[in-house]
């Protein structure tokens, strides 16, 4: 008898909880399902069909995946993307952390600098690409020819290696301001008493940075690394607007490659299956990264 009553109470509570949950999360959940879950499942289904962008006529099993893996260009772009992710991940975070240290120091101009560093992030990728295309193609080249600087005499966008660095430069310029904000939050969240204690103990600023500040803001690193990792893999707009895969289609990142496979050549089946493969790669990479960086987080 008593047992039954308790069970009833549990039921009432859980029903109330569900109601509460739906009240807050219902609408976002519906939107999430419609714009993310449904297209994702649908897209996954398409990889097993002969979908041509218009209609499905038959199931083809794993043919699309086999075709994707047999495509040498897919592997080339995947390697290129991996390189881009690693280099941009390191540089964006180093620069962003450096900027965060500058604007949290006792500089007078720190507030202006904050805005200054963050602004590139507010410019859309396509506009940014066009501006930088002009800089690399025309501005730098004509200056270099005037002052005889060998390195910049030919447009950087016409050489595969230099075009890669052009992509990196623009990506760093664009996203380090955003990551800077993440690091600022990390830095200002460190409590003053700890810092004062280290000062009294006579720790040098560098020692404070490495032994106190960085360990205590490891969470910020987890977030920033995850965000840059993800955006590195998904980079598309800057790629299209800056190099458009050129020169000679050697700077195509995986997103652009998939998009062109589907919409340019009309191979929707392989394009979609490459997208699924890419999803798995990104998910795995992000999972590994988050697990590792979580280990360094300190709970106070």
């Amino acid at each position: 008898m008593i047992l039954l009553k308790e069970e009833k109470e549990v039921q009432v509570i859980s029903a109330r909880k569900i109601k509460k949950f739906l009240k807050f999360a219902g609408i976002p959940l519906v939107i999430f399902t419609i714009v993310l879950v449904v297209p994702f499942v649908n897209g996954f289904y398409y990889t097993f069909t002969d979908w041509d962008g218009f209609e499905v006529t038959k199931l083809v099993g794993f043919e699309n995946y086999a075709d994707s893996f047999a495509d040498p260009k897919f592997w080339v772009t995947l390697r290129f993307t991996a390189l881009f992710v690693v280099v941009s991940l390191v540089l964006v975070n180093v620069v962003a952390f450096g900027l965060a240290l500058i604007v949290t120091s006792k500089l007078r101009s720190r507030n202006i600098l904050r805005t200054f560093f963050f602004v590139p992030n507010l410019i859309g990728g396509v506009v940014l690409g066009v501006i930088w295309q002009f800089i690399f193609n025309s501005a730098i080249v004509s200056l270099a020819n005037k002052y005889d600087v060998e390195l910049f005499k030919e447009s950087w966008l016409q050489d595969t290696n230099k075009a890669f660095w052009a992509l990196i430069i623009v990506t760093v310029w664009q996203s380090s301001g955003y990551m800077m904000i993440v690091y600022i939050t990390g830095l200002v969240s460190i409590e003053n008493d700890v810092l004062e204690a280290s000062q009294i103990d006579g720790a040098s600023p560098l020692r404070t940075l490495f032994l106190i500040k960085i360990p205590l803001m490891a969470q910020a690193f987890t977030i920033a690394l995850f965000l840059t990792l993800r955006s590195g893999f998904m980079a598309y707009d800057v790629n299209v607007a800056l190099t458009d895969g050129g020169p000679f289609r050697t700077t195509e990142l995986i997103s652009l490659h998939i998009f062109q496979d589907a919409f340019l050549e009309g191979d929707f089946g392989t394009g979609q299956s490459k997208a699924v493969v890419m999803f798995l790669v990104v998910a795995l990479a992000a999972l590994v990264q988050v697990t590792i960086s979580k280990r360094y987080e300190v709970q106070r």
Partner: protein, 444 residues
């Protein structure tokens, strides 16, 4: 399938009936109870958006059965990228306009056979939009490419362009331009110019008949063609080298190159460029008083060599009408609008008047045009067409993605001396291998 064809036929019949009365707007005023909205994707070309919209507005005022509405897509995307989401959401426009993806659209659009417009169109220009016997689209205008020249510079250098028939003649002309202190040529490395138009210079001279030219494509797809042994290919390579040698424009592989080449020729510092008549409006916007001409690009040193005195003339795009997601009235309206545009006196003025006078500057490709081509290059093209000195646009048959693959990779690599001529030949062969033979009716 059968049912839809029957419906299509019905629509055609009703459209034909309507198109006859559409000429006299007062007659139709009473016949339509309800206005049907007809959607057209895009405005033919983005450069003539205003002029096209003016034509549509004029059509909408001329009758009260249909209201033509142009819906705009994303210019930076290809036709297929724009249209697939519309089909997926059951929101397909009724009138569509494209060239490259005609084979992909063939089973989704109606057959133009038996329509008034089709009977008026130049027969030679219909072939490229005929898929397995079905007339998928009808032409908008003719365009041509070759060497575009600045008439002022040519006059100053004392060149008679009509005499240029061989490489030697061309080289002499380039030297004359240099002699008056100008730069002879801006040869653009922009991918679509190299990938579609310059490669066509080979394909269009690779055979003397339509069938022989398509056979080259067949062999390329089957992997049976050795380009390096083809004399036409060797000539084409030599032409490529000649243009590269005299090119004075800075090498730029990105899309900003197009504006740069147009600006250079318009500035009067350059004599020639390899482009088409679509550059004329931009050229005239920059240099208002200068005239520009279009001429043949010699492909050998033999004055009688095939194609040496001709220019490739083709259709940049075809009108298609959806039959899957449109109503009978919408299809009738679509046909009515296009018929009005190309056959009524008002419509023809919008089609053929120069861009500066509110027209679209098109070259008439339908019988019964009263307006004469008004621009300098349109006149040049008309001369070539009248003399029967035209070459085919084999690039119309390139499978989707091929001109990007060739133009953005091997052609630009050869342009910048990254690969040898032999490697270029192999790269082109590899790009064609196992592509669908859409010109033989194979599914894209």
């Amino acid at each position: 399938m059968k049912k839809s064809m029957k419906l299509g036929a019905l629509a055609l019949a009703s459209a034909l009936a309507l198109s006859v009365v559409a000429v006299a707007p007062s007659a139709t005023a009473a016949t339509c109870k309800k206005k049907t909205e007809v959607e057209m994707f895009g405005t033919i070309k983005k450069e003539i958006r205003e002029q096209f919209l003016a034509a549509a507005a004029s059509y909408n005022r001329s009758q009260n059965c249909y209201n033509l509405k142009s819906i705009l897509g994303d210019d930076s995307l290809t036709f297929l990228q724009n249209i697939t989401p519309k089909y997926a959401t059951k929101n397909a426009p009724t009138i569509m306009y494209d060239l490259q993806y005609i084979p992909d659209m063939a089973d989704k659009v109606m057959d133009w056979k038996g329509t008034k417009l089709m009977s008026l169109a130049s027969p030679g220009l219909l072939a490229a939009a005929n898929v397995g016997g079905k007339q998928v689209g009808i032409p908008s205008t003719a365009e041509a490419f070759g060497l575009v020249y600045n008439k002022a510079v040519i006059k100053e250098a004392g060149i008679d362009v009509t005499k240029i028939k061989t490489w030697k003649d061309l080289e002499a002309a380039f030297k004359k331009v240099e002699a008056v202190g100008k730069k002879p040529l801006h040869f653009s490395a922009i991918w679509w110019s190299l990938g579609a138009h310059f490669t066509n210079m080979y394909h269009t001279t690779a055979g003397k008949t339509h069938e022989a030219r398509l056979k080259v494509l067949d062999d390329l797809v089957d992997g049976k063609k050795d380009l390096s042994k083809d004399p036409a290919f060797k000539n084409w390579l030599a032409t490529y080298d000649l243009l590269k040698k005299y090119n004075q424009g800075a090498v730029n592989l990105t899309d900003t190159e197009f504006d740069a080449s147009v600006a250079n020729l318009a500035s009067g510092d350059y004599g020639f460029m390899f482009q088409g008549n679509w550059t004329e409006p931009s050229l005239n916007t920059i240099a208002k008083s200068t005239k520009f001409g279009l001429m043949n690009l010699p492909m050998s040193n033999d004055a009688k060599g095939y194609g040496n005195d001709s220019i490739p003339v083709g259709v940049p795009g075809y009108f298609m009408i959806d039959k899957q997601q449109s109503t009978k009235e919408e299809r009738a309206g679509a046909i009515d609008f296009l018929t009005w545009l190309y056959t009524s006196p008002q419509g023809q003025r919008f089609v053929a008047d120069p861009v500066t006078e509110g027209g679209m500057g098109f070259i008439p490709v339908y019988k019964g045009f009263k307006t004469k081509p008004a621009t300098s290059m349109a006149g040049d093209i008309a001369n070539f067409v009248n003399a029967g000195k035209t070459l085919e646009w084999i690039n119309t048959y390139y499978p989707g993605g091929l001109q990007e693959e060739v133009g953005k990779v091997s052609m630009q690599q050869y342009f910048t001396d990254k690969i040898s001529a032999a490697e270029l030949a192999t790269a082109i062969q590899n790009a064609w291998k196992d592509k669908p033979k859409t010109w033989r009716g194979e599914a894209a």
